[in-house]
């Protein structure tokens, strides 16, 4: 068998899940631990086939608790790491997503969302985990989550996710969904040289001088790896700059404030969104993932009726682009927010609009995508 390279430059006709796996490989991911779960399994299957070709390691763990831990451990051994799951597995991963946040471990976690709660709709779409992505692990924290709308976007955003995870030393979530995961489309993989990768920030001082949690100016500390002689201590307990546990209010404030600030104060470097005709619009449809895509037809129909409708699509969902939503709110009558849940990102839009514009939810329980007529009707109502 001829070995394929890590970056399969060229045009491909592949599913979103395969594109996600290829994006990971192109970003340098060489370790994947996962557990089969519909509708994300193809990501694991593709990694199982491809990782050995590029000298990487695939392991199917006994559950998602183990998968999440294994990718954290592998990151400390120097690998770029990823796991992929869906609702029930995502719930199990919340425990050690918190460990990844607390220990500042770069890794990427993919959620191909399905209908819930509980076992729900294994084979059918949902977008009900958006707030779980934000708040699902216990304690105060900030997170980064991206939302792709197509196989090409999930390829591109998976690379971006790895880069952000290295830049800010944080687990980065890719909040995709069943439709994008199983949709097959053209995906263009660029030449390897055109893919910009963020290297891991490793210590520039000797082990004697190294403080594992002494941050650089951007509030992100350098990360030593196991086996390099740094003999660092890494704990999920509240810790000081040495990495040692300190169970005091002062240590908690210093650490957690920095974990929050390293995302909040760097939000300009993280936030990304796509706007179409938002300037001068009376109504803005704010939507993400597959729902941003299904909004295109009703937006087009509304424009044909003469309504001034814009599309605002957060590509980075967390941190949420609150300043931009606030600016746009001043100029529009209303936001329309179609999403496959009963109001999650719409609550965020409402918060950021500060009462300057109405926010109209277009909820969907899951199992299918929005009927364009319902979104169109909401746009018409918003424009009145």
């Amino acid at each position: 068998m001829e070995s394929k390279g890590a970056v399969l430059t060229g045009e491909h006709f592949i599913s979103g899940n395969e594109a996600c796996a290829e994006g990971a490989l192109a970003a340098g991911c060489r370790f994947f631990a996962g557990y089969p779960i519909t509708p994300s399994t193809e990501v694991a299957e593709h990694m199982a086939e491809r990782l050995p070709e590029v000298g990487g390691t695939f392991i199917q763990m006994e559950d998602e608790l183990a998968s999440m831990n294994a990718i954290l451990g592998a990151a400390w051994a120097g690998a770029k790491t990823m796991s992929a799951t869906s609702g029930p597995g995502f719930s199990l991963m919340m425990e050690n997503l918190g460990l990844g946040i607390m220990t500042e471990t770069p890794c990427v976690l993919v959620n191909i969302q399905r209908g819930g709660p509980s076992t729900g709709l294994p084979t059918l779409v949902g977008q009900g985990d958006m707030m779980q992505a934000r708040w699902g692990s216990h304690g105060p924290y900030e997170i980064i989550a991206l939302s792709p709308s197509s196989p090409q976007e999930i390829f591109d955003l998976t690379i971006k996710a790895f880069n952000l995870s290295e830049q800010f030393r944080i687990p980065v979530l890719i909040m995709s969904d069943e439709v994008v995961g199983h949709m097959t489309e053209k995906v263009i993989i660029p030449p390897a040289d055109d893919i910009k990768l963020t290297p891991r920030r490793t210590p520039k001082v000797s082990p004697e001088k190294y403080l594992p949690y002494d941050p650089d100016e951007d509030l992100v500390p350098a990360m030593a790896l196991a086996g390099q002689g740094y003999k660092m201590h890494v704990t999920g307990l509240t810790h000081d700059r040495k990495g040692y546990p300190v169970i005091t209010e002062e240590a908690q404030i210093e650490l957690v404030q920095r974990l929050i600030d390293k995302i909040r104060k760097n939000r300009d470097k993280i936030i990304e969104y796509h706007e179409d005709q938002c300037e001068g619009a009376d109504v803005i449809v704010c939507s993400y993932g597959i729902s941003a895509r299904t909004s295109l037809l009703p937006i087009q129909l509304a424009r044909e009726e003469g309504l001034k409708v814009g599309l605002f699509k957060p590509i980075v969902v967390w941190p949420f682009p609150e300043e931009r939503i606030g600016q746009l709110a001043a100029g529009v009558k209303a936001f329309v927010v179609p999403e496959i849940n009963y109001g999650q990102i719409s609550l965020e839009v409402e918060r950021c609009a500060h009462g300057k514009a109405e926010v109209i939810q277009v909820p969907h329980a899951g199992g299918g995508i929005h009927d364009p007529a319902k979104v169109l009707e909401a746009i018409r109502r918003a424009a009145k």
């Binding site: 990487g56 763990m61 608790l65 831990n69 451990g73 003999k231 307990l237």
Partner: protein, 291 residues
């Protein structure tokens, strides 16, 4: 005058004193491990110690090595990631019976099944010490704990049997009284290729000992002198700990079995050209007894 303690090289002095109670067996267990580690001659830069949560879980915080204090029950899967992403590391999981056998029991059996090349040191004090002495997966039937006020109604796990049945290549049990034998056994476990397990029966005079009128730590160690029987090669199925019965200690399992990476490398041999980026089993820096 002695300026340096012989263990200084291996301890984070700035974290001492430790939190463990007087009479606890964890100090002896940690000393046995560090002495064994020095005996092996393994480069300390290459050693990673991973712990979970609990009294034993604090071990990772005291050793001057790359050390990881993970979540409750999860040190083994974290260690799996460390090991597979860099097989030249010597990965040791040091945690308690509640952490490894109850909340982490699934990870324990599956990693043994895969025969991942790592050493598990499981300190068994028959209860959850950190949270105040609750019953656990190894609490003997009838024993009193803070959650078994009428005596424990559950049958306990026999850890060596569980490890052996799941596929471990090395299984031994000692008490905290057997300091020298324990050190030798941990040495063997560290040098063993595959999933090696050492169970340490350890006094908890503050909680389990007090609930069950076992006396001081010294009294409990003295009771080990009377209760323990060394039976190397004993059938792991027959070393369960019964209330008032003998504690059978010794090396129960020492077998050869291909490790997970042995099987991976065999299965992928010649399929994709030379290995990229990652050292393979034959490049491991860690010597093994069968080589």
């Amino acid at each position: 005058m002695i300026e340096r303690h012989p263990m200084d090289q291996l301890l984070r002095e700035d974290r001492i004193p430790h939190i463990w109670c007087s009479g606890c067996g964890l100090g002896t267990s940690l000393t046995a491990f560090m002495s064994a580690l020095q005996d092996t001659g393994i480069s300390l830069d290459n050693v990673s110690v991973v712990s979970g949560i609990g009294c034993t879980g604090r071990v990772a915080g005291y050793v001057k090595l790359d050390s990881f204090h993970t979540t409750h029950g999860r040190p083994i899967p974290f260690a799996v990631g460390l090991h597979l992403a860099n097989p030249s590391l010597k990965v040791v999981v040091f945690s308690g019976d509640g952490d490894l056998i109850a909340i982490g029991g699934n990870h324990f059996i599956h990693s043994a099944r895969r025969n991942l090349d790592m050493t598990i040191i499981c300190v068994n004090n028959f209860n959850y010490g950190m949270t105040g002495g609750q019953g656990g997966p190894t609490t003997p039937i009838g024993a009193k704990t803070s959650t078994t006020p009428y005596g424990n109604f559950e049958f306990p796990f026999n850890i060596p049997h569980l490890a052996a049945a799941s596929g471990a290549t090395y299984v031994a049990r000692w008490t905290a009284l057997d300091a020298r034998r324990l050190r030798k056994s941990i040495h063997e476990a560290l040098m063993k290729r595959g999933f090696s397990v050492v169970e340490i029966i350890s006094p908890c005079p503050t909680l389990f000992g007090r609930f069950n009128r076992q006396g001081t730590g010294l009294d409990i160690l003295n009771s080990y002198r009377e209760q323990t029987v060394i039976q190397h090669g004993a059938d792991p199925a027959k070393v369960g700990i019964e209330p008032g019965g003998k504690i059978i200690v010794g090396k129960f399992v020492d077998i050869e079995r291909p490790t997970f990476l042995d099987v991976v490398n065999q299965g992928l041999k010649g399929k994709f050209g030379p290995p990229v980026e990652k050292p393979r089993a034959e490049e491991l820096a860690i010597p093994s007894v069968d080589e």
